[in-house]
């Protein structure tokens, strides 16, 4: 799980062009949106693309996306649960 969350953090940084952020700056459990990293709706869409590109997991609706993308932890759990990548 550790490995996955670390990998994810790096992928998030790359996908969202967070040049000034390091993986160590991102708290695994903290909310990604509103607080924490303060991401917005466009970032959510980019993360949905990331999940499909890198892990083959398709999110179909905004509501589903909200739950999965809550934090790095929830993203990692979703990936592990659906374990396609």
């Amino acid at each position: 799980m550790e490995e996955l969350t670390e990998k994810l953090k790096k992928e998030i940084i790359e996908a969202l062009n967070l040049e000034e952020t390091n993986a160590s700056d991102i708290d695994t459990d903290a909310p990604l949106f509103m607080e924490g990293l303060g991401l917005d709706s466009i970032d959510a869409l980019e993360l949905i693309v990331l999940l499909e590109k890198k892990y083959g997991l398709k999110i179909h609706a905004a509501k589903e996306g909200k739950k999965v993308l809550y934090s790095v932890k929830t993203m990692a759990e979703y990936i592990r649960k659906n374990n396609k990548g």
Partner: protein, 360 residues
């Protein structure tokens, strides 16, 4: 023709020369040899734009915001009553990115960010978003008259008294693809030449350029005033030597001036030898006793290059100086009370701007 009383109270320009951040006027002209295109010397955006905000912005958007913010700082106005932008080709980098992704990935798994940033009004909107400005916002994208259209809108707002301070700008960028395409059309030189030689060079095409120039126009002068825009005219038909001459003369006359009242003429010669004769005619006939200058060797040719010309003219009036590097002839200069800008975009469209010293 629109007669106005609009004061340029702030001006900032990002260009292929060191024109931003203290580079200002006494610029060391970068002579670029074997230049494929004249690329902007970009500032460190972090000064104004937080990396979290900058992260999804393309160059053109960052250049626009930075130039706009610098201009506002100079003018002392934090929030203008309008933000009006002109851009010929808009955000082509992001347009190409999304288009390429769409084609290469066969319409699957597409990142939305470049699409969102591809609309022509992204630059102007991001400026208003950056300033949290809820006022009037518009973007014009009409080839060589894009900046002129934005300028007209801004001047109109002042004339209507629906605004006291309007931010008006012209922005365009070059990408490798757009350069290649335009070279194939013969718009730009196929061989790389040195920009400072283009008056002598006998080849077809101009040198591609880009830039972001913003102006804070007000209905009243201020301590930061550069100059006054007294009159402005745009033409969407192409001119030949005769009609250009006649229209320039008419413009001067309609402003109750004689040719010798025009202290300096700034001509849009773009180095394409097929069209040099247009302005050669002006420089060698009606304006042969006026100080004649040119500017596209500094900024290159692009849809909104008039905005660079306006910046340069405003700087010359404010500093009461005509730098050697813009001179075409050796007519000595004295006062700079009236400057006439005559520009065209690839001879298709023309504009005249009369700039006056605000003090006199």
């Amino acid at each position: 023709m629109l007669k106005t009383e609009a004061y340029i109270n702030g001006a900032a320009c990002i260009s292929p020369q060191k024109t931003i951040d203290g580079g200002g006027f006494h610029i060391e002209i970068s002579e670029v040899k074997d230049v494929s295109y004249m690329k902007c010397l970009e500032p460190v955006y972090k000064k104004y734009i937080d990396p979290m905000i900058a992260r999804r912005m393309s160059r053109i958007v960052k250049m626009g915001i930075y130039a706009a913010k610098t201009c506002l700082e100079i003018s002392g106005i934090e929030n203008p009553d309008a933000v009006i932008t002109g851009t010929g080709l808009g955000c082509i980098e992001d347009t190409e990115k999304f288009l390429s992704n769409m084609i290469l990935n066969e319409e699957k798994l597409l990142n939305p960010t470049p699409f969102i940033q591809s609309t022509h009004n992204t630059i102007g909107s991001q400026i208003s978003l950056f300033l949290k400005c809820h006022e009037y916002n518009s973007t014009y994208a009409h080839r060589g008259l894009s900046f002129e259209s934005a300028l007209l809108d801004g001047l109109l707002m002042l004339a209507e008294k629906s605004a006291e301070n309007v931010l008006v700008g012209g922005v365009d960028e070059v990408t490798t693809n757009s350069l290649n395409i335009q070279k194939r059309f013969g718009h730009y030189k196929s061989d790389n030449i040195a920009n400072l030689n283009f008056l002598e060079n006998k080849s077809k095409g101009s040198i591609a350029g880009e830039g972001a120039s913003f102006f804070l126009l007000s209905d009243k002068p201020a301590s930061s005033t550069y100059a006054k825009i007294a009159s402005f005219e745009m033409h969407s038909n192409s001119f030949n030597k005769e009609t250009l001459k006649n229209n320039a003369l008419l413009f001067i006359q309609n402003n109750n001036l004689d040719i010798n009242d025009v202290d300096l003429v700034l001509l849009g010669i773009n180095g394409d030898y097929r069209f040099n004769s247009l302005y050669d005619e002006l420089a060698n006939t009606i304006f042969k006793e006026n100080v004649c200058t040119y500017f596209k060797h500094l900024c290159g040719e692009y849809s909104t290059a008039t905005s660079f010309a306006l910046w340069l003219s405003a700087m010359m009036i404010k500093n009461k100086t005509v730098p050697e590097y813009v001179r075409i002839n050796k007519v000595p200069y004295g006062k700079l009370k009236n400057i006439l800008i005559c520009n065209n975009y690839r001879t298709i469209s023309h504009s005249f701007i009369l700039l006056k010293d605000a003090e006199l």
